[in-house]
């Protein structure tokens, strides 16, 4: 199996260009959570000319709605949610400097085009590995939209968050190439 590449957030364009579909990575640094309802609010804020409640430049958004933390835990179980629901919102955020997204499942062509045009990368986390992933999160705090509960935007400090580069900034797509490799006619 390929070596695990260690990467730090925020990501630069050079960092992103260096990542290739199929590589395993471990991510450290600050990332933000946002899913359906938070994305709608983020785009509404942008449309109204307001600033975003997260550092978008070089940033990474993790598509997740965590469980509540058990006593002594930083955060509850928090595996990736299905990413295609965020496809209508992602290109706008990529245009504004978002460099990485973490989720599960394929993305549409508009998202991939924006990733190629602006050098962004899409990481797949293991869907269903929610308890294991929680262990890589060292600090969590709600920074926006607390009324959304699990869907609020959280700032996470992560250490060695395990992911796979699923779609890289050249548009190489493991959801297509991986499936093709194992398809039996």
């Amino acid at each position: 199996m390929s070596e695990i590449k260690k990467i730090k957030v925020p990501l630069t364009t050079e960092d992103v260009k260096d990542l290739k579909a199929g590589e395993r990575v471990s991510i450290s640094g600050v990332i933000y959570t946002a899913r359906d309802a938070a994305h709608a609010k983020l785009l509404k804020a942008l449309a109204a000319g307001e600033s975003l409640p997260l550092e978008i430049e070089g940033g990474v958004i993790y598509y997740v709605g965590p469980c509540p933390a058990k006593e002594g835990q930083v955060i509850g179980s928090c595996g990736p949610t299905t990413s295609y629901r965020m496809d209508p919102f992602a290109p706008t955020l990529i245009t504004r400097g978002l460099k990485g997204m973490i989720g599960k499942g394929p993305r549409d062509q508009k998202v991939i085009k924006a990733m190629k045009d602006h050098s962004a990368v899409y990481f797949a986390a293991i869907g269903g590995a929610a308890a294991v992933i929680a262990a890589s999160i060292k600090k969590a705090e709600v920074v926006a939209y607390p009324e959304l509960g699990t869907e609020a935007v959280r700032r996470l400090e992560v250490e060695d968050f395990p992911c796979i580069v699923a779609i890289d900034s050249e548009g190489n797509n493991l959801y297509e190439s991986g499936v093709k490799e194992y398809k039996r006619v």
């Binding site: 835990q73 929610a130 308890a131 294991v132 959801y175 490799e181 398809k183």
Partner: protein
């Protein structure tokens, strides 16, 4: 008549909800461990390893194996000689769901109005409750917390009777393969054939509550379950949709008589964390 107190039902539903979220049934565990030995792709093996490590950790610490602790689907078989006292059956069940999701670190994932308000109800109620009257003095409650990642990939098709076995096969296979990595494969595939539009979807979901290794009683459908599984696993989708041999763990068909003019087929998917628990009172 046998009296069953609502408080007892609430207590049992609460326990089942917590156990279902944190403790993967052993039969599903066995399926996943077998899948890991059969998988050939690098990422497939890696992700199955992580999934196995995850449910072991969840069970040890009694934390949810997946952050999507679902909307709770409840199948009730109510004996005609059972009298539920103190509260209605549905209220007793919903109270159990509420207590489980409020007292334990389970995610509340239910919103009130589906289109306009979408405000979280805060306690994961209401549950989706199906009650069937059966002879006898027992009350059976089966809990199936259903995550939306896999639920969103379900589909229904009203086939023509002339579409036959091939039509059914094509529709089921295309639905599962088309879902790709979205429903967290390897999946369990629930298939409902027959009845009406609504009945077929209910059969497909009920199939997900079946135990591993339990097959349709008719040998022809057993064969069909096997054939569809083999075809799905030729697709290359694999664990997490990143390529591999094991896309589905089981195909489960449920059937019901239908109208002369129709052949409804529904597909309901469950991710690899096929959570279900039951109790008989």
């Amino acid at each position: 008549m046998k009296e069953i107190k609502a408080g007892k039902i609430t207590e049992e539903v609460k326990r089942l909800c917590i156990e279902a979220a944190c403790d993967l049934p052993e039969d599903v565990e066995t399926l996943l461990r077998q899948a890991e030995t059969k998988e050939e792709s690098e990422f497939g093996c890696y992700s199955l390893e992580k999934v196995i490590e995850n449910f072991e950790l969840a069970r040890r610490d009694m934390v949810p194996m997946c952050q999507d602790t679902g909307i709770v689907v409840v199948y009730v078989e109510l004996g005609t000689e059972v009298d539920v006292v103190d509260l209605s059956l549905n209220d007793a069940i919903n109270e159990g769901v509420r207590q489980a999701y409020v007292s334990h670190p389970l995610r509340k994932s239910v919103v009130t109005d589906p289109l306009f308000d979408r405000k979280n109800t805060g306690d994961n109620t209401p549950a989706i409750i199906y009650t069937e009257l059966v002879p006898g003095d027992q009350l059976k409650i089966q809990i199936l917390p259903k995550g939306a990642g896999s639920e969103n990939m379900g589909a229904l098709k009203m086939l023509k009777p002339a579409d036959g076995v091939e039509g059914v096969k094509d529709f089921v296979i295309n639905t599962v393969v088309g879902a790709g990595g979205n429903p967290c494969p390897p999946v369990i595939v629930g298939v409902g054939i027959g009845g009406t539009m609504d009945k077929a979807t209910m059969l497909a979901k009920k199939a997900l509550a079946r135990d591993v290794g339990e097959h349709h009683p008719d040998a022809r459908y057993q064969e069909l379950e096997k054939e569809i599984l083999t075809e799905i696993n030729k697709s290359g989708v694999g664990p997490q949709g990143l390529g591999g041999r094991i896309t589905a763990l089981e195909v489960r068909i449920e059937t019901f008589p239908t109208h002369i003019a129709t052949l409804p087929v529904a597909v309901n998917l469950n991710c690899h964390a096929a959570r279900h628990k039951e109790v008989i009172l």
